[in-house]
Symmetry: C2
């Protein structure tokens, strides 16, 4: 960039966006034709397509299929500057964001930090369980699963071996249901070929849901069919059940029953990820910022929040919008328009959520979908829902490169019944050591 262009950029009002998830990225892109300078800050240098993280965790896709570097996505957009940094705090008086690499002044601040795993204060659970909120999480889960099976080959005690082969998934929302389904597919089609010496009748998959139905928030038909599909796939779904404790080995349920596993996958909830320096009075239940119908955080003029971190309380959504991609994307798009309105001193537009419905896949040919088309709700379960789910996820990926990669990977898996990405690269969680025995003769 030449000096002239640089100075011109510096003269514009600056919008600082913290977080490049669905909301932050959409906002940055939608500000293309608004006369502002945009600084997008994220601790990663890539955008993650979170709805498919569970596929990375279960060897169906590789991480590179679902992430896109921010610099690549935004390379043609001259008014955006990306910075890889952790945001430490905000000073709303001085209008400055403090980051790991320095200070950033802003005229408009948009918090789009999304949500983080919610352990409801259970430190032991946070330490011993695995989550699927980031690419690093998903890779670690994949490595852990494969590593456990390698270890199971050397264990003769059946209880010890089961602790490596069994899985407990806590949370019956989309992530929990999708992981349980994917693990059951691996158990059926993939692992028995890889580990001929293990008996996969020994591998149990437990899905624990605190409420009476799976996929809370979807239609009763969707919840019911998801349950049926999972049970047909041999998943032990435990409804109205809660985990009391987990020490890395024994899961104790509220019924007093115990399960033994070295891998508990925690998909039971998320909460907002607020930033130091924003007034505490604006934080609602679930650590989300209370925002008005223009996504402005209450108590501020020029500080906004969008996506999972924002709770816009309306009569239709008394707890804020669902913490999924669509509200974030729609809020990002509208906020770009409203920042334009602010600059021209026009009245601001009000956010109306266009709910397109919800979907979850359980496995090959099996999904459930509640779709809103032309203001009519359309509910379907099974193959058609699975086709829709597949189509929507492929076209929603950020880059053409990712779309192509996922399409090819899925087509391949569909016909070969294989999931090809079964390698252990990077971090894994070493299980609590199996009781020490004398070196064991192999095979």
């Amino acid at each position: 960039m030449d000096e002239h262009a640089k100075i011109e950029e510096l003269g514009k009002p600056r919008v600082v966006i913290v977080g490049g998830g669905f909301g932050g990225l959409e906002l940055a892109k939608a500000l293309r034709h608004v006369n502002v300078q945009v600084v997008l800050i994220d601790k990663q240098n890539y955008h993650t397509f979170q709805p498919l993280l569970y596929q990375v965790a279960t060897a169906g896709l590789d991480a590179d299929d679902i992430v896109s570097p921010f610099r690549k996505i935004l390379e043609d957009q001259g008014n955006v500057f990306f910075r890889m940094a952790e945001v430490q705090s905000v000073d709303t008086e001085a209008q400055v964001v403090k980051t790991s690499i320095g200070l950033v002044k802003y005229d408009y601040l948009v918090i789009a930090t999304g949500a983080t795993t919610n352990y409801f204060g259970d430190q032991e659970m946070a330490k011993n369980s695995v989550a699927i909120k980031s690419v690093e999480d998903a890779i670690m889960l994949r490595n852990t699963v494969l590593n456990n099976f390698e270890k199971a080959l050397q264990v003769e005690d059946p209880v010890e071996r089961n602790s490596l082969l069994d899985f407990v998934i806590v949370g019956g929302g989309p992530t929990g249901v999708e992981v349980a389904g994917a693990l059951s597919e691996l158990r059926k089609h993939v692992f028995p070929k890889d580990y001929r010496e293990l008996d996969f009748k020994e591998m149990d998959i437990h899905l624990i849901q605190s409420g009476p139905t799976l996929l809370k928030g979807m239609s009763p038909e969707a919840s019911q069919k998801a349950l049926e599909f999972l049970q047909n796939f041999g998943v032990d779904v435990m409804l109205d059940c809660r985990v009391k404790s987990y020490d890395g080995y024994t899961v104790t349920l509220n019924t007093g029953q115990t399960l033994i596993t070295r891998t508990l996958i925690w998909a039971a909830g998320v909460s907002g990820a607020p930033i130091e320096g924003i007034r505490k009075e604006s934080i609602l239940k679930g650590n989300r910022y209370q925002v008005d119908e223009h996504n402005r955080i209450t108590g501020y003029n020029n500080v906004f929040a969008i996506g999972d971190i924002a709770a816009m309380v309306t009569s239709e959504y008394p707890e804020g919008h669902p913490m999924v991609a669509q509200p974030a994307i729609q809020q990002g798009k509208l906020l770009a328009k409203n920042i334009g309105n602010l600059l021209c001193q026009r009245a601001l537009d009000t956010f109306h959520y266009d709910d397109k419905g919800a979907m979850a896949t359980i496995g090959r040919n099996h999904a459930v979908a509640d779709v809103k088309l032309f203001h009519k709700e359309f509910r379907t379960q099974g193959f058609l829902a699975w086709l829709m789910w597949t189509f929507v996820h492929v076209i929603s990926l950020v880059s053409f490169r990712n779309r192509l990669a996922v399409f090819i990977s899925w087509t391949w898996s569909y016909f070969s019944l294989d999931k090809g990405l079964r390698f252990i690269i990077g971090n894994k969680r070493e299980p609590i050591p199996v009781e020490e025995t004398a070196p064991k003769e192999l095979v």
Copy 2:
């Protein structure tokens, strides 16, 4: 596997292969129809296609494109058992291999542990430089390069900034040449779009070669053209030059000249990776095992070595065969046949290396090749060599899945001039901190 089949397997002589590189994997596959039980031990659960590691390091391919899980490759072969373990030592009296997961008895032992980076005893270099011998190395190098550029955006001092932008590559063999070429392509086509605020005229790539030519062992035409191509791409090639020391920041050359870089890529040599317990008398220069013309380690009846770790001294190859894929593959194939011969008490076949030539790519449309076809040598440089290099590497990949992935990725890159895999996932090498300054205003 049922009990009957299990007992039958256990009654067969057991071949234990340590290492699943080109040689070990080929041997395991070629033993399919030999009446033995095979135990393949590797510390990773996947085979790595090492010739393309440099592409992973330079964001041209993702790791999943060039690795294949052993269990997948060998899933149809009933007589192979894979174990993910580190080999600690061998007891050739008791015929037992000691591993991180227990003891393994053998009737025939084959060491195929390959080679490791050779720092020629320079501990400081081993600590401060980066290598490209494993997938984890390659990913770390990629993450380090990208991370350095992110940091360079925040640095005002030109020397400090240059230390993050400049690269020194030591070693003018195929890896050094290929990395230098790939970095120069990134500098030309990719990074300027990603980092508009940096001036890539500041990014220097130095390639240091101790001898008078690049690609030692290839034809003079190949060496000369490789030099020309690299110079045309703006790589500073320093021939007859050695590195005296590197403290993580300053590279001191034997000429007294110094270069400043936080990233020195060490591609200057490899040496064998011998195992504790094999007689030291059989170790030759470069830590390779002296083997006879049947790949039997001198001094043993039933212990073999193949590939990089084996030095079969002949009049044509007084220092053993080149440490590349082809000798390993050919030795693996012949050894399978010879193990069959041993079992039937037939005479053993003698190894003759079928040299198919050598190739190296410098960048888009530019490669050099010395190919042997029908015992005639054929030398070419430029576009045709590049086409041959591309074709040979795609078809040599282990699985159809990898071939398809690499083909698509390369086709994409060729037409888009893009290298898509520019994300920082997993370990990176944090540079020695830039001198602490007051928090700096961004942009």
